[in-house]
């Protein structure tokens, strides 16, 4: 880990460009970014392989939006306390509510309940709009960091499912399903067609030795009849700012790291660690067969997600349990003892 030469050592009231949210602004009194709350007084840390630490919103950081603001409280399971101006609104998932005073008015967003609520929260919780004036606070329920993602007009961001905390009122939500129920495998149809095999051994003459090919459609695959593995979760949330700049507040379990992928630059990550990505970043599943493996050891294969630039990508250090072991999918026997573990953040 080496600090970059152009490390940001700016203090309050200085103009600077945040290395995390990429927006310019004046450093606040708490020496944090006015747009995302990240610390502005530390040296930007970049690891040898280009991953940077995304520090999350600092304790006591204040982020202003319109006439309202949000203040971060805590460092283990941080809360976001909103101070809402009159007639300004944000929307959030009901189960993230910590406290509220009586002045805040709440209403269900009927059009976003039901399936949208399922996608956003993992349950039929309420999607609620809170309108000022007044105070209320939100938080997740696991150790981690609050990440503020400012969005320019018509800018979108893809976020891991169930990390959503709140969004500004002009941000819309969409869903990208990784698994379409109409594409369940049919009996007799080879199920490996959704996998890119990748054997990390240049000297191998195995037919599995091939480069990972970018294909955004390959974000899931069928392991066995009726079983589908989705390393990036069942879906991703897509947030878009309409009619002006907006923001999305997400909770990242554990710590967060991010990097900029150049055009055609690729990186393999643990699928469920993916926190967010720019829409320009494509991702698909690869199964890497470790070098020195032979056919008998093919069940040691590693399931990964290949992300292809250009664009930002962020990962969190707390993710789902270890991906299931994958055996040679050409064989249709021997799966009973190894059941696919679907990613399910709802259990957390």
């Amino acid at each position: 880990m080496e600090p970059t030469p152009d490390a940001n050592t700016s203090l309050d009231n200085r103009e600077f460009t945040c290395p995390y949210c990429r927006l310019s602004g004046t450093v606040t009194k708490d020496v944090s970014c006015p747009n995302c709350g990240a610390r502005a007084d530390i040296r930007l840390l970049e690891s040898d392989n280009k991953w940077e630490e995304l520090p999350g919103a600092k304790d006591r950081a204040v982020i202003q939006f319109s006439q309202s603001k949000v203040e971060v409280q805590g460092s283990f399971v941080p809360m976001a306390e909103f101070t809402m101006a009159a007639s300004e609104a944000v929307w959030f998932a009901q189960h993230k509510l910590c406290y509220a005073d009586k002045a805040v008015s709440f209403e269900s967003i009927q059009s976003m309940n039901g399936l949208t609520s399922m996608n956003l929260t993992g349950a039929y919780n309420q999607i609620v709009r809170a309108t000022g004036p007044g105070h209320f606070a939100l938080s997740d329920n696991v150790m981690g960091e609050l990440i503020m993602l400012p969005l320019q007009t018509d800018q979108s961001i893809k976020v891991r499912n169930f990390c959503f905390v709140a969004a500004s009122n002009n941000v819309t939500h969409g869903t990208i399903f990784h698994h379409r129920y109409m594409q369940r495998p049919k009996p007799g149809v080879p199920s490996q067609h959704n996998i890119t095999y990748y054997e990390n051994n240049p000297e191998s003459k195995s037919p599995y030795r091939q480069a990972a090919e970018p294909n955004p459609q390959r974000v899931y695959f069928h392991i066995y009849q009726g079983e589908t593995f989705m390393p990036m979760g069942g879906h991703e949330d897509v947030f878009t700012a309409k009619n002006g700049p907006g923001w999305v507040l997400i909770h990242s379990p554990g710590n967060t790291r991010f990097r900029d992928l150049a055009a055609n630059e690729s990186v393999h990550i643990h699928g469920s660690s993916l926190l967010y990505r720019d829409p320009s970043v494509q991702a698909h599943v690869v199964v890497e067969i470790p070098a020195l493996s032979n056919d008998d050891l093919r069940d040691r294969s590693q399931i990964q997600v290949a992300a292809h630039g250009p664009g930002r990508i962020a990962v969190s250090t707390v993710f789902s349990p270890e991906a299931p072991l994958v055996r040679d999918v050409d064989r249709s026997v021997g799966y009973n003892e190894k059941t696919t573990q679907f990613l399910d953040w709802r259990l957390r």
Binding site: Q73, G74, F76, E81, L97, C98, Y99, F106, N113, Q126
Partner: protein, 267 residues
Amino acid sequence: MEMLLCSWCHANNQQGLSQCAVCGAPLNSDDRVSDSGFREAPKLRDMEEFIFSSSTLQIEGKYVPMVEINLHPDDSVYFEQHTIMAKDAQVRLTKKPLNGKRRAHGMPYSVLSASGPGFISFSRDAPGELVVMPIHEHTELDVREHAFLLASHTVDYQFVRIKGLANMVHGGNGMYLDQFTANGATGIVLIHGSGDVVQKTLAPGETIYVEAGKLLYKDSSVSLNTVQLPGINSGFMGNHVYVAELTGGPQGGRVGLQSAYHHSVSE
């Protein structure tokens, strides 16, 4: 002599101190309150030390902090039996009589008392913060069930079952409240909050809504009721959102919240 009042635990401190001698809360400009009146729990440093009666108490660790106590021969502390980590052989354990029967996690609920001299340590198994709450004379603190780590022998303890069908069905604040009162001298209660802990002092008659699972403690003067969050009502059978309504009494009162929901099952 002019004294500094700790805004967290309400203890008096000598002028010139930057930190409360009783609970460790800042007494200087670091004691900041958010716009809605919440202040963060004192950030107890690793290896921070406190004195109660004639014994010393030390906080160890940051994420799942533990407490180590050097008990004086005249002192004792009591605790839920499953929170003990280690003790010297000469520390004597006795069962503390309770005011009723109660079960937790399918097991009989029991509180043990440890008498000095010797070392004894405790922790709960959840990431979070420890809060040192002094119990002064004429004060009573209501704590969420299974959240107190230990209390000194000068503090009386009893538990009450939370009343009301709405509380039981929709509350999420548990079945019981642990109540602590001083029986003469000032004592201390250590509370483990999951995640981060914040506190607000409610003015008389002031009301806030709290997600019941995040309620950690309150002064007994603060009333607790489970109500529907106004404005949210959709669908058949009503997808209501239930929250705890906390209202300050004639003298106001403190409310402590934890940012992570951690519920221990009681029966």
